[in-house]
Amino acid sequence: MSASPKSSNAHSSRLEAVLNTVIDGIITINNRGLIQSFNPSAVRIFGYSPEEVIGQNVKMLMPEPYHSGHDGYLSNYFSTGDKQIIGKGREVEAQRKDGSVFAMELGVNEMDIDGETMFVGTIRDISDRISAEQALKENQAKLQAIVDNTVDGLITIDQGGRIETFNKACETIFGYRANEVIEQNVKILMPNPYHREHDSYLSNYHNTGEKRIIGTGRQVEGRRKNGDIFPLDLSVSEVHVHGRKLYSGIVRDITDRKNAEEEIRQANAELEEFSYRTSHDLRSPLVSSIRLLDIVEESIRVDDKEKALMSSALIQKSLRQLESLVKDILTLTQAKNESEELEEINIESLIVDTLTKLKHMDNFERLNIDLSMKFDSTLWSKKNRMMLIIENLLSNAVKYQDLNKENSFINISTYLDCNNFTLKISDNGLGIPKNQQAQLFQMFKRFHPKTAFGSGLGLYMMKKSVDVLGGEIYFKDNDNGCTFIFTLPVR
């Protein structure tokens, strides 16, 4: 059979025209993988001229791992007939002359020309499509990452109140895993009355359009999985997605803020009390002293020397009280501001030194003081604070001894208890009236009239210092005096 050379020529030039104008790249290779033809679109796609590629192995157009694997693909096909790509289209990666890798859609067909197996590859550069898809995916991942990582909880619910989205922050805030609450009614996150009434809020809104919370924020209460109820800031907005109405809520756990507010409120109240009491307590001895000076003057005038001396002694006493109060206030403000380094404390010598300091106090000598120092570990703490605590406890025990008792004592012991340094000071002094024990560590509390002068700041200062050191102080009423127990964790 002989084909007419003319019609054959015409056919082949038509074919060539088609090959030259199709948008897709068309490459033929032989059974060894060597490139036989490379149309202009292939040139455009890959950046190689036909001369550079014809006769070369087609794997030059492939990045790893296809580059190394391609010979194997071919021989595998010839030995097993197992088609991995032939006859199908798929997305693969290809490499341009400049080394850049791009996504392409590849279709491979087998053909037989003069008994020789050839393969035709049709190539479409789909990097634009892929990058658009990738951008979308990336965008979604980015959004998801944002949603997952916001500190605020994000919840979306449908019109019936069923939870659709529950981000990681919500999991942290509420203690539920997302899969435990998705599809559940959002009211499981609410304590009563919200829990009870939420369905009616929703239906009310649907029926009347009356917004109670949508579009605004407000403070409400939430309920965690463990039943804890906590304050939260909630803002809700209405979202329409493909004709569906959703509500998205942003929730923020404001427990810490509330606690901080409460602390500030307390500190303010304390400050107010402090300024009221100091002004009162500072003024009293001054007013008394002025009046006493009048009495001194009058007494001298009428030659009542005894009364003059008595009055001036009281002036001295009054001014000494004033001085002692001012000293305590100074100590208190210092104690508040002082940031002190930790150091190793020799507790025994601290106690002995303190007792030595207190020796000048009235009636110190009639006390039977017993020391039992069993604590022998190392204690790291702030020395000045420790000193303030010990001084306060001991000077109170001395000051408020019961002079009506024969055997007044102070028992001081230190020991290690459950990894806590423990200092226990017991006495058989005047004690604290039962009905006032609850106010023991408040500012300006005094429990014993007539007996000594106290600023009413001592126990308060001490408690503050104990708090700063991270320790605890307990009072035990032993019916026959006081016991104070001060504990501090040993590092």
Partner: protein, 123 residues
């Protein structure tokens, strides 16, 4: 006839001394009774055969303060007399709280003057 006594309820011995001095200066014959807090005052008043003509009451005292005393005193069956508050507190709330009690006739902010006694004993 001897005058009825005056009771001073005051925790500060200095202010006790001053108040006593002022009373004696006003009238040597007035007996002065002393209590160092509200609780002691209630005990004293319960056993007194004749109630004082005036009670001078401080507010800031340990154990039982002036406010607490007024509550207990009003509720008790002790025969009531006139009370003058004698305090160095400028707190309006202290004043308001005290003046709610009908037995409180006067609110004196220290220092205590002889003229205050004059007012109290002449009315």
């Amino acid at each position: 006839m001897k005058n009825s006594p005056i009771l001073i309820i005051e925790d500060s011995e200095i202010d006790q001394y001053i108040a006593k001095y002022m009373i004696k200066k006003f009238d040597e014959n007035i007996d002065v009774l002393q209590a160092f807090d509200g609780q002691e005052a209630l005990e004293v008043l319960t056993i007194l055969p004749r109630q004082p003509v005036v009670i001078l009451l401080d507010i800031n005292m340990p154990r039982m303060n002036g406010h607490e005393f007024l509550k207990e005193y009003t509720a008790s069956n002790i025969e009531k007399t006139s009370i003058a508050i004698l305090t160095s507190s400028f707190q309006q709330s202290d004043k308001d709280q005290c003046l709610k009690f009908t037995c409180v006739k006067k609110y004196i902010t220290k220092p205590f003057e002889v003229s205050d006694l004059n007012d109290l004993l002449s009315s």
